[in-house]
């Protein structure tokens, strides 16, 4: 039983780490702000979820897992909001998406 749990949380943690890294690489490699936000926010959300699920499996049924769930809920709640606010601010500040000026160098507001 414990072997299965260990294996499962191992898998979850590794998947989460992988997603996180790919998201991070995305933020460095993508050409403009909007695509970068996309990379970071989408990958981040699942990455956080996977890692915390992995930890919950380890913690078992206790106060610790309740706290972990709190953290997850909080992250799920705030990080899309933060991304939203960022993109919104950038939009109103006239940061142009990459596709709108294709052929020119990436926009650097």
């Amino acid at each position: 039983m414990s072997l299965i749990i260990d294996g499962l949380s191992w898998l979850l943690l590794m998947c989460g780490a992988f997603l996180g890294i790919s998201g991070a690489v995305g933020t460095v490699r993508f050409p403009d702000f909007y695509t970068r936000v996309h990379a970071s926010s989408v990958a981040d959300t699942l990455c956080a979820a996977l890692i915390i699920l992995g930890l919950i499996l380890q913690a078992g049924f206790s106060l610790v897992s309740v706290k972990l769930i709190f953290i997850l809920a909080f992250l799920w709640y705030t990080s899309p909001a933060a991304s939203h606010a960022m993109v919104r601010a950038a939009h109103f500040m006239n940061v142009k998406p990459y596709l709108l000026n294709k052929g020119k160098p990436p926009s650097k507001p």
Partner: protein
Amino acid sequence: MLAATAIAVIRQHSLFAIVMLFGIYSLLSASIFVVLDAVDVAFTEAAVGAGISTMLMLGTLVITGHHERTPKHGPVLPLVVVMLTGAVLVWGTLDMPPFGAADNPVHQHVAPRYIEDSPQEVGIPNMVTSVLASYRAYDTMGEVIVVFAALVGVLALIGIREQKSPRPVSTTDDKPPRPVLQVMAKLLIPYIMIFALYVQFHGEYGPGGGFQAGVIFASAIILYVLTFGLDDAYALVAPSVLRPLAALGVLLYGGTGVVTMLMGGTFLNYSVLADDPVQGQLYGIIAIEFGVGLTVATVMMLIFYAFISRGEKAA
């Protein structure tokens, strides 16, 4: 990584970028504190360095602008001074006891009593709290006074604009409303406050205590100011209410000390507060932690109000 951040902070010329990198720096150093077992410190550093300091710096940037000119004079003299200081330090560390060894003098004297006896003498498991609030309670009172002194300074320097702004619709005429954030904030703020209370009263058992709770509580209000604007925040918590509360927190702390004095102990000796010394310690610690929390929360809010209202006036 920390070193890299520090260098980046120095090299940057845009003050905005600097402040943000400073936030990262702060989070990083807080992580290092966790790795070094100092959970309480990490807690505070995250709340203060990454939270309050960064926000105050941003508030200042709004007023002062954010471009730095390249320095004109050569950096030779500072470099020499810095090198000299660094050399003294490196020289000094050569004779330092090795990192982490359990038989260092630091761990041999004074500290063992805190570790071995404090759970019995003071009756709470978090040794940091028991040292903070009982063995070295007078330092902590000094800390509260320092915060209070900072408030006095900030009020004397920039004050708080108390009346409402002449244009009540200021947020709507030039900027689109922000429904998502406002709804979010409304949902979130009560939970933040409950969390602050939890941190306040759980400080005896886990990391946390009055200072951290105060900062978290203040950050809830700061979130409110950021999403709804200053005028609405004034309607919620007016500065004129906060001002006396800040002083009351200090007096609660000091008053606890005076009471212990009147009851025959020395200043801040909680053991006399109840028949059972350990119980008395508990009462005392709860009272002063509450004083700390009260002062810190109100002072942080007031300072933030002061910065923001100055910014709006400048605008």
